[in-house]
């Protein structure tokens, strides 16, 4: 078991490195650099940046150096916990990202939890009452959930909220608590705003998990041990919950690893539509203005968080089901 976890941890380290390389490459790809987009921005506002100034800026941000030098410098800085300086905001990257990263985590984790809370009972119900109206309804909603891209769902909900209730359902905080320091009232406010983004983000995942749970449980329910359990006079709830559900949970659990990156991805776009104070809108802005340290750091941090989350779910999985130990997935 330890060897398996070790292997996965090693893979996670490689993944983080791959993400790091990709993040750096992405930032390097666009033609031009921050200074050239800064010059263009200045020119559009009517002021001129002299060549000398541009040169100074490039030296200041280390943009003139060869790519491998820039790469090495960035890597060394990050190892020291210094994520660089956001060129657009003129503040350290860590300060710009600030609590947005944690709010991203909060949104993603609550979406994941909601996925589980909804998918588990609905999946069990669908399997036990196969071909009932409830099953068909769940299947239909499930397919719909898969088919509707979550940013469209966000848009539709915003529209409905706006026209029917004349309320703005976006955001994570009420306006008066937007910039307030953390307090119980603010946490409560956050909790009140969370369900809608969590539901939007979790719906596609929920749909998928319902399908998986239903299929697995149906396979298990046909096995002879279920008949045996029933013939021995166990109550129906016990027959279903004690063994088949437990077994059906395994493949179900192994999908968390793939659900998490999906939810993080989705949260970027949904945050833009709903105006959530997560890293999503920040990333889009940074990419457009080629603010390389900021964009690179966001991609890197999102990647690392996802990898850690996946690793945790892998370990939990090995712990739930002893049978998949050491099994090469």
């Amino acid at each position: 078991m330890l060897a398996d976890i070790g292997r996965r941890a090693l893979l996670a380290v490689f993944t983080v490195w791959a993400i790091y390389m990709l993040a750096f490459a992405i930032i390097q790809l666009p033609p031009g650099d921050y200074v050239s987009s800064y010059i263009a921005q200045m020119a559009s506002m009517g002021s001129v940046v002299t060549d000398e100034e541009a040169q100074n800026l490039r030296i200041q941000y280390g943009l003139g150096q060869p790519i491998y030098v820039q790469y090495w410098k960035w890597m060394k800085q990050i190892a020291e916990g210094n994520f660089g300086f956001s060129m657009e905001w003129r503040r350290p990257v860590t300060e710009v990202i600030g609590e947005r990263l944690w709010l991203t985590v909060v949104v993603a984790v609550s979406a994941l939890l909601l996925t589980w809370v909804l998918a588990l009972p609905i999946g069990i119900y669908s399997a036990v009452r196969q071909y009932s109206i409830g099953d068909y309804a769940a299947t239909f909603v499930g397919f719909l959930g898969l088919a509707v891209p979550n940013f469209l769902l966000a848009l539709v909900l915003l529209y409905l909220g706006f026209t029917l209730f004349n309320a703005h359902i976006g955001g994570l905080f009420s306006p008066e608590l937007q910039d307030a320091p953390w307090s119980l009232a603010r946490v409560w406010d956050l909790l009140k705003h969370l369900p809608i983004p969590a539901l939007i983000l979790g719906l596609a995942g929920t749909a998928q998990q319902i399908r998986i749970m239903r299929a697995n449980l149906l396979d298990e329910l046909r096995k002879p041990y279920v008949v045996t359990a029933r013939s021995k006079g166990l109550t129906e709830a016990r027959v279903i919950l004690k063994y088949p559900v437990r077994l059906a949970l395994n493949p179900f659990a192994s999908t968390i690893g793939y659900t998490l990156p999906y939810i993080v991805s989705g949260s970027i776009i949904v945050s833009l539509v709903l105006g959530l104070p997560t890293v999503g809108p920040l990333l889009l802005k940074a990419l457009i203005s080629q603010d390389m340290f900021l964009a690179g750091t966001i991609v890197l941090l999102l990647g690392i968080m996802t990898v850690i989350g996946t690793l945790i779910s892998d370990i939990v999985l090995v712990w739930i089901d002893p049978r998949i130990r050491l099994e090469d997935t």
């Binding site: 893979l11 529209y159 976006g170 457009i288 999102l302």
Partner: protein, 380 residues
């Protein structure tokens, strides 16, 4: 079987129906099983219809998708009145535009006095049908030579006064072909890498599997955004189109590679593959003549299921303004106009391009599901 038949009637002689099944080819069996899946058949028809719209987009559109006019911005959809005095004469009412003196917004009022007849196979802008035949007939249209108030807008117009229906037709063309191209590219990558991984195993397998695992544990949207933002702003529509296809497929091949690898692994030790190898078939021949046909159906099903993800990806990227950019038209580009809630609240028809996205994605999902069930020889 043949020997047993010679020995006299069996206790349970196969009926004509069963005999039909025994001699049927694999594809026939698949077709029979697929036909039973009503939703999948209906979905196949829907998907087929959408691709017909792709071919005939310029025939179905009735006005130039890029023709704009400030005088008719944000017109609401016009309802078709099929009958006029009890006779079948489809027409729409003319719209009168005026500025609201309070809000300075353009408001439109239907004018029942002005009936604009809809003509079938009417003359319109010129185009080349299927890219070859020069034509100027369109499925529907109005008499040419009228002023701006005498036109039809089945789904309304956007801010710049462009007809949404016509734009939707052209958007369908781009959004659906980008998905097809992307999935083809993913398929090539998936077959080559997945096949290599499954057929040879060993170190190559381990390396490819780890790469797939790494790719799958990275949140894709931030990566796509980064790659898409890196495209030079001065590229032509065509260049951006292909670049976006490549970006989408580069990250979408992993699922297909996994499916194909699994199939190769399962078949590698099968008797017919071993005997093919023993009689001296080359590896190429073993793979492409003996192995691939036996799981072709699975590949098709997996490909169908991979398509909707591609379509959604393109829509999402273009929606963010990082994918296709105007003047290119795709569903995502059309939806960009619906980004703002205030705009949508006033002109909800701008959200209509979401409908084909949802319908097509659902149809592909059902179709892929049906194909997968039909392709599985052990299915119930």
């Amino acid at each position: 079987m043949a020997v047993a038949a010679d020995a006299g009637p069996l206790p349970s002689a196969p009926t004509a129906d069963k005999q039909r099944i025994f001699v049927a080819s694999q594809w026939q069996l698949m077709w029979w099983r697929f036909r039973k899946h009503r939703v999948a058949v209906a979905s196949a028809i829907v998907v087929g219809g959408f691709y017909l719209a792709v071919l005939g987009a310029d025939f179905l559109a009735y006005s130039d998708p890029n023709a704009s006019e400030a005088q008719r911005g944000l017109m609401p959809p016009q309802a078709i009145h099929w009958f006029d005095d009890g006779r079948f004469r489809p027409h729409v009412y003319g719209l009168k535009g005026a500025r609201d003196p309070k809000t300075f917004k353009r408001v439109y009022q239907a004018d029942p006095g002005q009936k604009i007849p809809i003509r079938f196979f009417a003359q319109g802008f010129e185009y080349r049908f299927l890219g070859l035949i020069p034509m100027s007939r369109h499925l529907i249209g109005v008499d040419p030579g009228r002023d701006a108030s005498g036109t039809i807008f089945l789904l309304g117009t956007d801010v710049q006064g462009r007809d949404l229906w016509s734009r939707l037709m052209f958007g369908t063309r781009i959004s659906l072909t980008i998905g097809l191209l992307g999935v083809t590219m993913s398929l090539v990558l998936g077959v080559v890498l997945g096949g290599f991984s499954g057929f040879y195993g060993g170190v190559a397998d381990t390396v490819i599997q780890r790469i797939i695992e790494i790719l799958r544990s990275i949140p894709t949207i931030p990566l796509w955004m980064g790659l898409a933002a890196a495209l030079p702003r001065d590229w032509t529509i065509l260049q951006v189109y292909f670049a976006i296809t490549v970006i989408i497929s580069l990250l979408g091949w992993t699922e297909l590679a996994r499916v194909i690898r699994g199939r190769f692994l399962a078949l590698r030790e099968e008797d017919f593959v071993v005997s093919a190898r023993l009689v001296g078939c080359t590896q190429m021949r073993t793979i492409f003549v003996h192995m691939v046909p036996s799981f072709m159906s699975h590949i098709i099903a997996a490909t169908t299921l991979a398509l909707p993800a591609m379509i959604i990806s393109e829509t999402a990227l273009s929606f963010l303004g990082l994918g296709l950019r105007p003047p290119a038209i795709s569903w995502g580009v059309l939806l960009q106009q619906a980004q703002n809630v205030q705009t949508v609240a006033i002109s909800p028809w701008l959200m209509l391009p979401a409908v084909p996205v949802i319908v097509v994605v659902m149809a592909f999902n059902f179709l892929g599901d049906g194909l997968r069930d039909a392709a599985d020889p052990y299915g119930r």
